[in-house]
Subunit: 138 residues, 2 copies
DNA sequence: ATCCTAGCTTAGACTATGTCTAAACAAAGA
DNA sequence: TCTTTGTTTAGACATAGTCTAAGCTAGGAT
């Protein structure tokens, strides 16, 4: 598994300074940020970075298949740079914090044939929900 | 499994004419609607029904645990009246069709303690993705 | 029956999230 | 250098949903 900038470069995608800052902000964390959080953090590196560029860049990285867009909490979308390996998500119902997790079994194996309604089922992802330590204490 | 209005009444929840129309709009269908779609359909029965009442009522039914709120496509939330039995969702990646399905095991059991990051994990839902018979043929 | 109260409904203002537009800017090739 | 193409920007716009304040309604007390 290589870093996100390297994976993006393989698509002949121009790595501008703005795009690099956004990719580096995204990468290397197992917490998934919203677009606003990425903007805020990336602006620490490049204060003139615009909101539109963050949204454009995230959408392009999703279209290239190198970043996953997650819409699991009904508030704002979150972006997951780990599109190159299988994993599931754990979400705090209090604050929306989202982390990657790994489960012991593949849920596809637990869906009986007569529940498949004729579909060809190719993948399954599990959304675990609960409270993070901070929200439980509060 | 009883109908949604009956289940709601058990919570000592006042069934006003507006709430009844909204519940019946939700319950009669096997498709999961957005709030706007519910408003549009419910207004055929009760044209003066307001948007705020639809949103309030849906949120209350979710809070009572009788309706599930689904945020799976990043656009708008959809509402599922079948909250009285555990189920997961199967989504066609071609046409967006969404069906309820039942799995053989509870995915919470597959998440090891060291993957819980200190969270109290209360539930898990699986989103199965694939192609429905029509989209596979196309 | 009438009044009172609590809770329900309403229109519209407001907030949050995300997209679009048009102009300025930057980089690469002729 | 000039041109072309693609990128970035600020801000207008769009969409989804929440909040507020006022009026309305149902049901209990008298």
């Amino acid at each position: 598994m290589s870093d996100l900038v390297t994976r993006l470069r393989r698509h002949n995608w121009r790595i501008t300074p703005q795009r690099r800052v956004i990719a580096e902000t995204l990468d290397g964390s197992h917490v998934h940020y919203t677009a606003e959080e990425i903007l805020e953090r990336a602006c620490e590196q490049m204060p003139e970075l615009s909101r539109a560029t963050v949204y454009n860049t995230l959408n392009e990285m999703v279209a290239l298949g190198e970043v996953l867009e997650l819409a699991l909490d009904g508030r704002s979308k979150r972006y997951d740079p780990n599109a190159d390996h299988e994993h599931h998500h754990l979400i705090c119902e209090g604050c929306g914090l989202m982390k990657d997790v790994h489960a012991l079994a593949d849920p596809v194996d637990w869906l009986p044939g007569d529940e498949r309604h004729g579909f060809t089922v190719t993948r399954a992802s599990v959304t675990y929900r609960g409270l993070c330590p901070e929200c439980r204490a509060a």
